[in-house]
Structures are given as structure tokens and as C-alpha cells.
């Protein structure tokens, strides 16, 4: 399975005085089973890009193919694409509408015209994957806490059994505990199902702990597309486009400037601790 974007551009408002080039010449491929982080600040085009992945927006130029087929050719089954590329929007709990949690999660598979048993089996599996307790299946979604609502909303998309799951800022508005829980759950379901996951965020710290590939966007372009260590190494460029490397990167750069022989490419607290301890030992201290 692969989703490929070739020279994709998107311009809107071309009939007004100020057309906006939301995406410019994007070339990307999303293969099987990859955990990708998509970073960019507001206005970088990341939300627009994400809506191209499941055919919600048609590119002005360029080609998007799923398993080799152009998704915008006549008769391409869009519904099928949307069941293969699941998109979870920001604040997904705003899409909940059914009388109870279970029915809401069934909405997606029902729309695919599947038989009742299959629909219910998928809903159950999806709710398990997000760690939602069975005793609340018949609860009204509107009586749940924010974090729980969000899980139900994500389950609603998972029930479509996508091969690629795209999550637009899944931690938006959550407190640290909620954020850790959701990210942990996403990592867990990736491991369980082996699907590709695209995490859209502007928090470097969130993303550093989980993903194996980072795509950085700025003003509609792809600025970097590499493994985390490499991307976070470009501290200056990231700052120039209004993003920030994880805090630890700054700390390590500062230490290096002050004469400590640390590896500035460490991206997590544990890595940072280890490299500092190593540097101190080598100096014969502590």
C-alpha cells in the first residue's frame, strides 16, 4: 500500500486579487506501517495537505495516487479511499452525534454498507484499540470527559479500518495527562495494527518521542523530510520558520557552547541525560 503525492500544488481564491498558494510542489510518499510526524505552524499548509490525502480537496496541479491509481480519475471510489485513509480532525469530539457511544462508532462502517455483524465487530475492535472501557458503550457521548470523547471520536475513524490514520493535532486542548494518554494510546494502536500513522502537530516534544520520520512544512513547501535526529539538528532553520526544536536540543547546544562535549543530536530527556553524564565522566568529574 502506498499513497503518493507528485508535484501537488493547491491554490485557492484564484479569482480574487490575492490567490493563496496553500501548497507548492509537494512530493511525498506514505508507505506501509510508518509513524510520521508532520510539523508546521498555522498557515504552513499542513491542514490543507492532510485534506488532500483522503480526497476531500482536489489539487490544482499534480498527481495523487493510491496503490498506483490516480484518486481523481473518473469513477475512482472515493468512499473506498476514505475508508483506507482515515482522517481525524482537530477537536474530533465535535463530530459526535449519536445517542450512545457504540452507535456513534458504528456510523463509519455503516456508511460502507457492511453487514450488521461486521459493523459491530469493527466498532468493538476500534473501541478496544483506543482503550475505551466496555461498561460505557451505551453511555451518551455528551456525558463523557474531554479525553474520553476524543477517544470515541478516534475510534469512530478507526472503525473504518484505515491503512493510514491521519490525526490532526490530537493533543489540542488536552492537559499533560490527557496528552500523554492519547499519544500513548496512538502508539499502542500503531503497534497492534501495523498501520501507518501521520501525526500532525506543532509540538516538537510530542512528536520526538514517537515518530520515525518527520516532515516539516513551511509556507506550503516541504522544508525537511527525514529522521528526527536529522531534522532537529537544523535548529537555526527551524527557529527561522517559527518552529522550535525540543527544549533539550537547546539545552544541549548551550552546554556545548560552554565547553561540554555533549552530543547535540539527542532528542529525548533520557538521551540528553546519558550524553551529559558521558561528557562529565570523560572530564573525570562525578
Amino acid at each position: 500500500m502506498s499513497l503518493k503525492l507528485e508535484h501537488v500544488s493547491y491554490i485557492y481564491g484564484s479569482d480574487t486579487e490575492l490567490p493563496v498558494h496553500a501548497l507548492q510542489d509537494i512530493c511525498l510518499e506514505i508507505p506501509d506501517g510508518q509513524f510520521i510526524g508532520l510539523i508546521g505552524h498555522t498557515g504552513s499548509g499542513k491542514s490543507t495537505l492532510v485534506q488532500h490525502l483522503n480526497g476531500l480537496i482536489e489539487p490544482t496541479e499534480g498527481l495523487i495516487t493510491y496503490d498506483g491509481r490516480n484518486i481523481w480519475e473518473k469513477d475512482f471510489p472515493k468512499k473506498e479511499l476514505r475508508s483506507n485513509v482515515g482522517l481525524v480532525f482537530q477537536y474530533p469530539e465535535h463530530q459526535l452525534f449519536e445517542v450512545d457511544v457504540f452507535s456513534d462508532v458504528c456510523f463509519g462502517p455503516k456508511n460502507l454498507g457492511l453487514p450488521k455483524e461486521e459493523v459491530e465487530a469493527r466498532a468493538k475492535r476500534a473501541l478496544e484499540l483506543v482503550g475505551f472501557p466496555e461498561e460505557y458503550y451505551k453511555q451518551s457521548p455528551f456525558e463523557l470527559s474531554g479525553g474520553q470523547k476524543r477517544r470515541v471520536a478516534i475510534a469512530g475513524v478507526l472503525a473504518m479500518q484505515p491503512k493510514i490514520l491521519v490525526l490532526d493535532e490530537p493533543t489540542a486542548g488536552l492537559d499533560p495527562r490527557g496528552r500523554d494518554e492519547i499519544l500513548g494510546q496512538i502508539a499502542h494502536l500503531k503497534k497492534e495494527t501495523g498501520i501507518s500513522v501521520v501525526l500532525v502537530s506543532h509540538s516538537m516534544e510530542d512528536v520526538a518521542n514517537y515518530v520515525e520520520r518527520i516532515i516539516v512544512m513551511n509556507k506550503g513547501h516541504v522544508l525537511f523530510d527525514d529522521v528526527p535526529r536529522e531534522v532537529f539538528g537544523h535548529v537555526k532553520e527551524l527557529e527561522e520558520v517559527g518552529l522550535a526544536a525540543p527544549q533539550v536540543t537547546y539545552i544541549l547546544h548551550k552546554l556545548k557552547d560552554n565547553g561540554f562535549d555533549v552530543d547535540v543530536n539527542a532528542t529525548t530527556i533520557r538521551e540528553a541525560r546519558d550524553t551529559i553524564l558521558k561528557a562529565m565522566k570523560e572530564e573525570g568529574r562525578c
Binding site: H41, T42, S145, G146, G147, A172, G173, L174, D175, P176, R177, G178, D180, H202, S203, E205, G242, L243, A244, P246, Q247, V248, Y250, I251, K254, L255, N258, F260, I269, R270, A272, R273, I276, L277, M280, E283, R285, C286
Partner: protein, 301 residues
Amino acid sequence: MQQDETGGYGVRTGNGAAMNIIETSHLSYDYIRRDEEGNVEGTTRAVSDVSLSVKPGDFIAILGHNGSGKSTLAKHINALLLPTEGTIVVDGKDTGREENIWDVRQSAGMVFQNPDNQIIGQVVEEDVGFGPENMGVPTKEIWERVEESLKAVGMYAYRKHSPNKLSGGQKQRVSIAGVLAMHPKCIVLDEPTAMLDPNGRKDVIRAARALNDVEGVTVILITHYMEEVIYADHVFVMDEGKVVLQGTPKEVFSQVERLKELRLDVPQVTLLAYELRRSGLPLPDGILTADELTEELKKCR
């Protein structure tokens, strides 16, 4: 007097230590849970026996995860909620007395989390003028207040703009201006940055700090973002309706284990210092900035 890292001195000057601007005494608040017919099902104690005080001109932070009671407590400060038990006195007025409510709301302004849901005007300057209009301020003076408030938050250039075209951070600054135009003694910011991106967050916190440093307004920041808290004079940590920790940012963040138990974040640098200490390096408690860490590690050499 030692200069601390915020550049200030640990001494409060001004109108004496006389009156605290906010004083709560055994404050408790119960939410009433009702079933589908509206009958009372039970009560949930959202705030439990909180007694705290805030000095005028301070920058206070209240931390806690969702459901800890911090927002509920905040809404008592401007009498949007009234205590079930206990009292809260704001600028010398007890909120329990009905005749005080509007005075309290003028003394204590509040900015909420959702940038869209608190803007009423269709033009920025009209929204900032909404508060003074409600207070019956004469037209000429409204314009003066609107101008100075917008300048204080750096949004004067946008005064004729429609709020719809602003970013989240800009909208929140407009809301802060709207509250400032009421000339309050203190401003409560209830998770003002929760729905913003990092740039927006920076702008809003910068505006809040300017209010406190330059205009001398008491600021109470409710948040769960640690980076925003390191500039506070005093920090309260809430859990299950009670204040479980309090002190200066250094004091509070030193207690890494306790904060982890409460499932709260600690600034990455503090966490790193903590991990290094656990591995044997003799670092002091409560390191809050990269500079501090560098200095302390140098001392280790």
C-alpha cells in the same frame, strides 16, 4: 536584596502589605448533578476547603490537570460562581453579598479559553468598548480607554479590523484589552492559551506579563503549561478541589516526584536536572532554565 532570575526583587513595595486583593476562607463549591427529569442525583465537590490569599500586584499561577477544580475556583473570583461554603473577598468586597457582585466583576476581570466565544463586537475597537459601555462610562472616556488598552496589548493597529480575520493569539489579546478597559484591579486568565499554537501562546503570555510588570495589574493565570508558570511570583497546585502544593516556582518545581504523581508536566530542563541528580550529579533543586543548568554543571567540574 538579591535579584532573582525574573529581574525583580523579592520585596513588595507600594500600598503596604495591608489588604490582600483576594482572600478566600474555607471556600468550597458543590456541583449539583441532576438526572434527566431534573431531580437532584447527588453533588460533586469541585472545590474543597480552599483558603488562600493574593497580594496586589502579584503574578499568580494556578496549576492542575482538567477536573482539579482550578477553573471552578477561578470563577469565584469574579462572582460567576458563588461559594457553597466559605467566603471569598475580592478587593474588600464579599462576593456572598448580592449588592457587591457588579463591583466585584469590575474589580476582577476574566478572559476565557475559547478565543471566539468571548468576542461580541464585529469590529475590534467595538468589542474592547463593550465592557465600559456596560459600566456606563461616558463616550469620550470609552474611546480613551479603548485606545490605551489596545496599545497595552499591542493590538492598536488592528482596531478597525473584523475579529474574524485575526489569529487565536490576537483574539485573546483583544479580549485582554476588553477586560483592561474596565480598569480592573486584577485579571483572571482561565487557560487563555489552551487553544492556541506556540506563537499565539507566547504573545498572550507576553501581554499578561506586561500587564503585571508595567500596569501593575494583579494577574492570576490558570494553566497547565509549565513554561508559562516560571515567571510567577507564587504558584498554587490543585488536585481534586484542594490546594496540594504552593510556593514559588522554584519551590514547586523542585518536587518532581510529587508533580509526576499529580500527572503534571515539569519544564524539560527541571526534569533533566532531576534525572542527572538521580544519576549522582550534585545538582541543587528547582533548576528552571537552561542557563541555570549550565552554571550548575560548570560548578560540578
